[in-house]
Amino acid sequence: MVRDRSLSGKTFTVVVHVVMLFVLLVTLLPVIHVLSISFSSAAAINRGEVGLWPVELSVSAYTAIFSTGNVPRSFFNSVYYTVLGTVINMVLTTMMAYPLSRPHLTFRKFYNVLILITMFFSGGLIPTFLTVRNLGLYDTVWAIVLPGAISTWNLIIMRTFFMNLPVELEESAQLDGANDLTIFSRIILPLSKASIATITLFYAVSHWNNWFNAMIYFKSSKSYPLQTILRSIVINNEMSEEMQVDEVIDSVSAEGIKYSTLVVSMVPMLVVYPFIQKYFVKGVMIGSLKG
């Protein structure tokens, strides 16, 4: 890349940096504030003293949330649903996107239209619920992971990526005696790491953040993922008109509980991002250029 050393180029660079710094601060400061509150004492939180640094360092909020059993259990539920769901998503999405990307597939256009329709029309909550129930999925993990096993949007992105892979690769592999499965698993997939990583992330984040389906499809709250519990804590965090039995707790603040649970829910995704960042930048550009 040639660096523009003209005045306008430098001005543009400065403006871009200032804007990005502003965006960075707007994004980062709330996260730091959440972290600070989660590590502050209840008294300091209640006095409104916590800003961007913990006041009266305390892990009592974390002790409280991990001692109840609900947060750790729901955390592991979330991991389970995310891993299982993402594996199913990726297997089915790649296996469906590849044939659809091949120009010689019979009824290819028909299949594409059929798939596209689902992007614009859905059954709605109650028909979907009835379908899930009638299929025997209600109150099972499959109710969470199967109805959205293939995201049309992600499927199209993946298909577009596969379409850009040279057909010659397949042809030369066929000359070497490779069958379609070998071509798919040993040539196509290894060449698609960037898109696979990106789509995996999209799916994983979607599963991780999903709270509604669990609330609708699970009978026992012991099966809830972390986001459902978190939503409940955040939404119901306002004190009742009257005092509740567990409201007078001098070592743990309700705010502390809320923010420490938020931190717990953020950590896994924060940990995963750096590992796939190198693929991510390349992957998100998929489909943006043709040729």
């Binding site: 209640n46 091949r102 597939l105 299949y111 993990v141 939404i235 005092m243």
Partner: protein
């Protein structure tokens, strides 16, 4: 190649179909769930199991009935199951409930989906959604309980005959049927003025009895502690005016019967008493005696006034004295909060008004049309049993030796590992054992142990004081159409009133100016006050016939 592609697609479909054909067995998921909590559950199961073995109660029912039960979860208050309640239901009533948890924050979404798909359970365990419950009853989903009440003598005995009839009038749906089991209210009052007694004693401040005295007091406090917010309120205009509203005998912003004259008032919004209350609130606001940001204030802000030692007096639930002390103690080790046994009144000679509560809480058990006759019989039996001393003690305090112990004086006390505001603030909550959620009455021991005995004290104080007056309650009787229309009009009226009331409090409009007040009344009329007043008046008249 084409064939293989088609095969791949078919494989995708087959995998999906095979997975979809799974049964309800969620063992793998359950295993995951259980792994995190197995230790805690095992320990509790052991303790409860031991206790059950000792106090085993032979069920009079031979066969086991399994039913679904909807359990409304608030926050993350989920019992460790099987809980003591599960054990007791099995032992005494041979009932096994399969719990269907429902987050109260998404109640409407989930319940509507359940009803539309007919995937709802037999038992609704203590739903706190009276309007929705009545509507479900009117739509035919719930069992009308009127004919079964005589089979629950201990439940009926929670009220006097007269109070029971009143309760029925209040809690029945518009078709005259009762669709849930209301819960006994153990108190008749819960609010008065809470104040920082330690500071009052140290500074020689007198408790106020009139708005003028209150103003003088707040001014003195502000002079002594310029950083204070002498009378914090909980955010929003309704909380900001509540103490003064009561001082001027306005029982409600909507309809009520005047405590002194016995006249029906369709809307408190239009009364001279409210006008006076707004005048005082405006003075408090302009002199910096209440939270200057009360309009947007939230619970955190309100709590911070206590945590920073800035609060001195507030019209509030008396049990919040414990909360106030706990929050303020880090900055004032000697702090002591008490509550008054009277309310500030605009006319000291005629006594004072207090907010009198009904003898019931509008929530309890409901049973759906899916329940069998035998299941209903046993669940009503359960409701009756938890209304007895023995059953109520179990639901509130748990099991002796597991959750509570008996003191030498015969009172019951939670054991050391259980929550108590002073003995063990981080102890285990009763709901973890399945207790409390689903009670139909609270025992004296329980209210004392969880710091709610102040409610009983204030109720007794007001009941014994001839100067204490309250508005008699009446069961509003509307048709379904009237109810619907009234809800619509009330929203419009409240929005309009709120807009003007804020302007009065913040001084943008002068509440003492007749033109401004008339403009406010005209705005309420435009919002539908006349029509709403007629509906409310008719509803009141119908209740008196």
């Amino acid at each position: 190649m084409k064939k293989l592609m088609s095969l791949l697609l078919i494989a995708c479909m087959l995998v999906t179909m095979v997975a979809c054909s799974g049964t309800d067995d969620s063992s793998s998921q359950a295993e995951t769930s259980q792994s995190a909590t197995s230790q805690a559950e095992e320990s509790q199961a052991e303790t409860s199991g031991d206790a059950s073995a000792e106090d085993s109660v032979a069920s009079e029912y031979a066969d086991t009935i399994t039913m679904g039960a909807l359990y409304e979860v608030s926050k993350d208050r989920i019992p460790d199951r099987p809980s003591l309640v599960d054990d007791m239901l099995k032992e005494r009533f041979n009932v096994v409930l399969e719990w269907n948890d429902i987050q109260n924050s998404a109640f409407n979404d989930v319940i509507n989906t359940m009803l539309a798909s007919e995937e709802y359970p037999e038992v609704f365990w203590n739903l706190n959604h009276e309007t929705e419950v009545k509507n479900m009853g009117l739509d035919g989903y719930l069992v009308a309980l009127n004919d079964y009440l005589d089979s629950m003598p201990d439940y009926k005995a929670l009220w006097s005959e007269e109070d029971f009839q009143t309760m029925l009038e209040f809690c029945s749906a518009s078709d005259g049927n009762l669709y849930y089991t209301p819960t006994q209210n153990y108190r008749s009052a819960s609010m008065s003025w809470i104040y920082r007694k330690s500071a009052f004693d140290a500074n020689g401040w007198e408790l106020p009895t009139t708005p003028e005295e209150l103003y003088d007091l707040l001014t003195q406090i502000k002079a002594a502690d310029p950083e204070s917010v002498p009378m914090p309120t909980r955010g929003g205009w309704k909380n900001a005016i509540q103490g003064m509203r009561v001082a001027y005998d306005v029982t409600s912003l909507e309809s009520y019967v005047d405590a002194y004259t016995g006249e029906f008032v369709p809307y408190g919004y239009t009364t001279d008493g409210l006008r006076e209350a707004l005048r005082w609130t405006n003075i408090f606001y302009e002199d910096g005696l209440i939270d200057p940001e009360f309009v947007t204030g939230d619970d955190n802000q309100w709590t911070s006034f206590y945590a920073n030692g800035q609060a001195y007096i507030e019209y509030q639930y008396v049990e919040r004295t414990v909360w106030a002390e706990t929050n303020m103690s880090p900055v004032d080790a000697e702090v002591d909060w008490e509550f008054t046994d009277y309310n500030v009144s605009s006319d000291d000679n005629e006594g004072y008004l207090y907010e009198h509560e009904n003898t019931f809480f509008p929530y309890g058990y409901s049973f759906t049309d899916k329940i069998s006759d035998e299941g209903l019989t046993r669940m009503l039996d359960w409701c009756n049993w938890i209304s007895t001393d023995e059953g109520a003690t179990f639901m509130c305090m748990g099991v002796e030796g597991v959750t509570y112990q008996v003191n030498d004086d015969g009172t019951l006390q939670f054991m050391d590992h259980m929550y108590h505001d002073t003995r063990n603030p981080e102890g285990e909550q009763p709901w973890k054992y399945g207790m409390y959620m689903g009670i139909l009455r609270q025992t004296e021991d329980y209210t004392r142990e969880v710091g709610k005995d102040t409610n009983i004290t204030i109720s007794e104080e007001f009941a014994a004081d001839s100067n204490a007056h309250y508005s008699p309650a009446y069961p509003e009787q509307y048709t379904t159409e009237e109810e619907s229309r009234l809800a619509e009009l009330d929203t419009q009226i409240e929005d309009m009133a709120g807009e003007y009331i804020l302007r009065f409090i913040m001084g943008e409009l002068d509440v003492t100016d007749d033109n401004a007040w008339n403009e406010y009344l005209a705005a309420l009329d435009n919002a539908g006050l006349q029509e709403a007043s007629e509906i409310r008046t008719n509803g009141y008249n119908a209740s008196q016939e």
